[in-house]
Amino acid sequence: MGDKISIKNLNFYYGKNQALYDISMKIPEREVMAFVGPSGCGKSTFLRVFNRMNDTIPYARVEGEVKIDGKNIYKTKTDVVALRRKVGMVFQKSNPFPKSIFENVAYGIRINKMHSGKKDLADRVEKALRDAALWDEVSDRLNTSAFGLSGGQQQRLCIARALAVQPEVILMDEPASALDPIATQKIEELVVELKKKYTIVIVTHNMQQAARISDKTAFFMLGKLIEVNPTEKMFTNPDDELTEDYITGRFG
C-alpha cells in the first residue's frame, strides 16, 4: 500500500525551544499508526503538524518537508482550509462547541455543504453518533447543550464531529483517555473499522491499546523519533533498548 503521509527532516520550534528534532518517517495509507512516548515528548505537537493546526500559535515554526498524497503541505500556496477538511482531528482535550449535541455534529457537514436536505443531515448526524458509540445515550436529547454531557460523552461527541465530515486522514490525540472500558472498546473497534477507508494516526498512553489496534507504532522521546516499526515487532522484539524499557514499563 502507498504512503499517505511522508515526513522528511522535520524540525519544530516553539519560539526558541525546539520540540521536534529531525524526524523522518512514512505513514501508510489505510493503516493505523500509533504514537507512543512519555508525556511532553512531542506527540501532540507532531500530530498537529499534519493539519497545520500549529499555525494558530504565532511563535511556532516548522522546518522540513511534510507530504500528504505527494504534496508538500507547507508550501505557501497550500489551501489550509481544504487540508484540514481532508485531515480531521480529535483533540486531546475535548472541545465541544457551545451548541446543541445535534448542531455540534452537524457543524462540519453544514460548513462543507455535504448534505442534501434536512433528512440527509439528520441521517449523517445519526450515523456519526452511532459510529462514535454515543447515539444510544443521546438520541432522546439531541437538542440539549453539549456541555450537559459527561467528560467521556463529550470526547465521543468530538469523535463523532470529526467523523461526520468524512476526512481521509483522522488524527486522534488520546481519544479514549476519559472513557470507561466499554466505551474504550467501542472506540477501538471503530478505529479498526475505520481503517478500511481512512488513514489513522492515534496518540495513546495505553500500550495494550497500541498493541491491540495499530499496524505500526512510533516511539518518541524528548522530541526525537526513537523507533518506528510494525507494532508486532515493536512489542516483541524492538530494535532500540529505550523502546523496550518504555514498553515494558521500566520508565516513563
Partner: protein
C-alpha cells in the same frame, strides 16, 4: 486551657471581621436605597398620564416630559444603531486580528476615549456637525452618544471574545471552517451573552448622559421626529427643570429623574436576563 483560649480568640476575631464587612455591605446598600426612596418620594406624586405624554408648558399650566422621553429614545436608538455595529466590529477585530501595531494603537485610543469626559465629545461634535449645519440637531446628539458608546462596546466585546477558549476555535478550524466562519458562528455565539451585557451597559450609560447633549441636540418643546432638528431629551429636560426657579419645576425634575432611573433599572434587569446562558 491554652487551647481553649486561642480558640475563643480566633472565634472573636472572625466574628468581628464578619461584622465589619457586613456593616460595609449594608452601608453601600443603604446609600443606594436612600437615593432611590428619596427620588421616589419626591417624584412619584407628580407622575401621571399627562406628565408622561404631554410636552412642557409654561410654569403653572402643567405639562410633561412626553417629548423628552421620545427624544431620548430616538437618539439612543440612532446612537445604538450606529455605535453597536461599529463597536462590536472593532472589538472582534481587536480580539481576533489585533495583535499588531495598528491594533495596539486602536486599543490605546479606545481606552483614552473611554476616559475622556463626555462634555469634550459634545464640543467635538459641536465643532464638526453643529457649526457647519448651523443648528443643533437630534443627529448631532445621537452622534455624540455613539462616540461615547463605541469604545466601551469595542473593549468589552474584545474582552468577551478573548474569554472564548482557543481550543474551541481549533475544533472548528479542524473541520475545515474558514477563519471568518469560526469567528462568526463559533466565537461570536460563545461570547454573545457577554457582548450583549456590554452593549446594554453602554446603552444605560449613554441614556444618562447630559453634557454632550446640551451642545448638540439642545432641547425642544415639541414632539420632534426629525433628526435634523433640535431634539428634547430626558436628561437635558431634568437639567432645565432642576435649574429653574420654581418649586413645581423641581418636582417635575424629580419625577423625570425617577422615570430615567426606572428605565436604566429596566435595562439592567434585561442585562441580567440576557446573561443567563442558553448553552
Amino acid at each position: 486551657m491554652m487551647d481553649r483560649n486561642t480558640h475563643s480568640r480566633r472565634k472573636l476575631v472572625s466574628g468581628a471581621m464578619t461584622l465589619i464587612t457586613a456593616a460595609c455591605a449594608i452601608a453601600a446598600i443603604i446609600v443606594l436605597v436612600l437615593i432611590l426612596t428619596y427620588i421616589a418620594a419626591k417624584g412619584l406624586t407628580t407622575i401621571n398620564y399627562e406628565f408622561l405624554t404631554d410636552t412642557p408648558k409654561p410654569v403653572g399650566e402643567g405639562g410633561g416630559i412626553g417629548n423628552a422621553i421620545m427624544g431620548s429614545a430616538l437618539m439612543t436608538l440612532l446612537a445604538t444603531a450606529i455605535g453597536l455595529p461599529i463597536g462590536i466590529g472593532a472589538g472582534v477585530y481587536l480580539a481576533e486580528f489585533g495583535e499588531n501595531i495598528f491594533g495596539n494603537t486602536v486599543r490605546f485610543l479606545a481606552d483614552t476615549l473611554i476616559g475622556v469626559p463626555s462634555i469634550i465629545v459634545g464640543i467635538f461634535i459641536y465643532t464638526l456637525i453643529v457649526l457647519p449645519m448651523g443648528r443643533q440637531s437630534g443627529l448631532a446628539g445621537a452622534l455624540s452618544l455613539a462616540i461615547i458608546m463605541i469604545p466601551i462596546v469595542a473593549r468589552t466585546t474584545e474582552e468577551m471574545i478573548r474569554l472564548v477558549p482557543q481550543s474551541m476555535r481549533e475544533g472548528a478550524l479542524a473541520l475545515g471552517a474558514p477563519q471568518w466562519r469560526v469567528t462568526w458562528n463559533i466565537v461570536m455565539p460563545a461570547a454573545a451573552s457577554g457582548i450583549a451585557t456590554g452593549a446594554m451597559l453602554s446603552i444605560a450609560r449613554i441614556s444618562g448622559e447630559t453634557a454632550p447633549l446640551l451642545f448638540t441636540a439642545l432641547n425642544s418643546r415639541f414632539y420632534n421626529y426629525f433628526f435634523d432638528q433640535p431634539m428634547a431629551s430626558l436628561t437635558v429636560q431634568i437639567y432645565n427643570y432642576a435649574t429653574g426657579p420654581f418649586e413645581i419645576e423641581h418636582q417635575m425634575a424629580w419625577a423625570a429623574t425617577l422615570i430615567l432611573v426606572g428605565l436604566i433599572l429596566v435595562i439592567n434587569v434585561l442585562v441580567r436576563f440576557l446573561t443567563k446562558k442558553k448553552y
